[in-house]
Amino acid sequence: MSTLAVTPRRRAGRTGSLLAGSFLGAMLLAVVFAGVIFPEGYDAQDVTRRFAEPTWFGPLPLGTDELGRDLLARVLYGGRPALGISAVAAVLATVLGAAAALGATLGGRPWDGIIGRIADVQLAVPTILIALVVLSFSGSGTIPLIGVLTVGSWVLTFRILRAQLAAVVALPYIEAARLAGAQGPTLLRRHVLPAAAPLAVVALTLNFSTALVLESSLGYLGLGIAPPRPDWGQIVASGQAQLAGAWWISIVPGAFLVATVVSIQIVGDRIADLLTLPGSQDGTR
């Protein structure tokens, strides 16, 4: 099967990545402290102010929805499942993918074959379809969502790291280290893992953004976090009918989603840039 080309998306400029990083940071803070900013919660209804337009800098900066709920509150609270679930899934997927890659690289032929096959099978079915099957039958709780997103993302990590590890393990310096007496865990810790770590970090950001997109897609299809708890994809879906009138209900959370995904990618690319060893011979990024 063809290998995934991991080419940097963009040359992450200093200012661009700074901007993206600050946006991510500010948003994470706001999401984490949503409870402090909006102590009344995401569900404070007030029918007298239904479909209030965004004032941007006044009260109700992002307007309200069909129940008169503050959209900013909903977007910030909605970031919790969206970001939280995706982040956990991304970490799990990276760990799982890395473990699988290590197992395939160091476990010898049979393991390589088995894990590779599993990855091939997994790749052959669109994740979203697996997610639909599982979630529509298991119900869409946090745990099944994390499970589905993890299952959907680990292959990418596995493939990237598998290729990298295969290249690294074949490098003379690994053999040289072996001759110098490094074996098993020592070899892993001293030479193999450090070589794979930067790419794992990149894979982590990649997984984060794919998981976020998938999570919100599921939310949009009604298989994500169930209302009344808000979730980005779900808010977008809930406002879709009102696009012509109260466009902000859909567009604002959607824009947050897009901005977040872009920021994660920019930051990820920047990390990749920074981790690249200048002049390194082993193709390590």
């Binding site: 209804q45 069909e66 129940l67 009604g222 879709q240 009102q242 696009l243 012509a244």
Partner: protein
Amino acid sequence: AVTSGTTAGSEQDSSLVIGISRKLTSIDPAEGGSIDGDATLARAIYSGLTYYDPELQLRGELAESWTQDDDTHWTFVLREGVTWSDGSPFTAEQVVRNFERFLDPESTLGNAAAIRAIISGVTAPDDGTVVIETNGPFIDLPDRLAHFFLVNPDFLQAHPDELVALGTGPYVLESVDLENGAVLTRNPSYFGEAPEWERVEYRVLETEAARVQAAQAEEIDVAIQYEPASLELFADSDVYATGNQWSSWNNTLRINENVAPLDDARVRQALNYAIDKQALIRDVVGADVEPLAGQVLSDPYDRVNPDLEAYPYDPERARQLLAEAGHADGITIELGLSTGSYVAQDPVSQAIARQLGEVGITVEITNQSFPNWVERTRSADDAPALYYIGYTSGYRAPAERLRIYTSGNGQSHYSPPDAVYDDLVTRVTAATTPEQQQDLVNQATAHYREQAHAVFLWPQPLTYVVRKDLEWTPRPEHWLVPQEFRSRS
């Protein structure tokens, strides 16, 4: 009406585009399906022995007339000269075979059980008459048959597992795609008055967004099941009129009494007292409906118990009842919703959660896809403590409406089973006169209100968007019958 693009010309080749809010499940009317989905299509392709006219008067369709011979025997005289849309004659023997499909004990048809519960046998003494024998007295039989469509059994046998249909209705099925809709054309050999539209297109618009946008793009002539909030989008429309009215669909929160402390009637009553139905209707539902009067029946569609009243909004009383039941410091229960099934369900549920919260009942709302939700509501140990549900029917038969709430129903979870109510409903079914039936209905509903086995809400609003140049009387059952649309010119 949207004129079909392919046949634009001088001909009066008109078509009607109807948005339906659910996927079709089958083309065989025996398989159940919802009234706003499959049954709406069936109503245009097939005919029944009886039907309700737009004023809700029961009339004969394929039956010219009927008489009750004794407590359990009814004779239906068939209309003469009726043919199937392929020109073959419609016969009494075919009617008999239609019923036999359901009466076969091995039948896997979705509606078989419901029919078998009422009817024990059907015969055709001659070509123009059919005699139906019921299990016991059942005075609502002609009403019941208004939602029983007759298919051509020979055709069905010849085309198993195919998405084709042969009926006697005003329209012929041209093509169907269960996920996306169907196209019908006028049946030239229809026995009744020819409908106005040459061609009818049903378009599946499963989501609110799809329905709203289809109207915004002016791609449909009519659709129902809009969220009340969406109707405001068309308030100033030149093209569409909107409506929001009562329907025959009665909504309640059903209660899983296996979940403590809901086995305590006082707690269930407290639930009923704690919800301000009037305010919710005013603020969220926005329809001209009245709260259910402490029963699962509603005026004017059903025969109701006129003596009952809705539980008033009385949070004090609710708190007091809770305290009496030993839950002064509150309880926490789940409210299970099925995604997108009922108009205004989400805002209503969230408002209900707030109101219940004020008397110390913390509500956790869960949302599931319809299939999963149905499954859960049917499992005694896993059903949500409360679940938002509405039942409708295509005919008026009080016994059938009340039976849904008896202990034997898959979605009833009473603790212990309510033998009194079950017995009363059995007797309603077997009533031999309307007066007797009314009396029993009164007893059953009064008992049920007292036990507060459910939280009584209100009839589900019928919301619609329809082209201003169309004349149409909305059907409380949610039928969208193409032959009932007329242009206003």
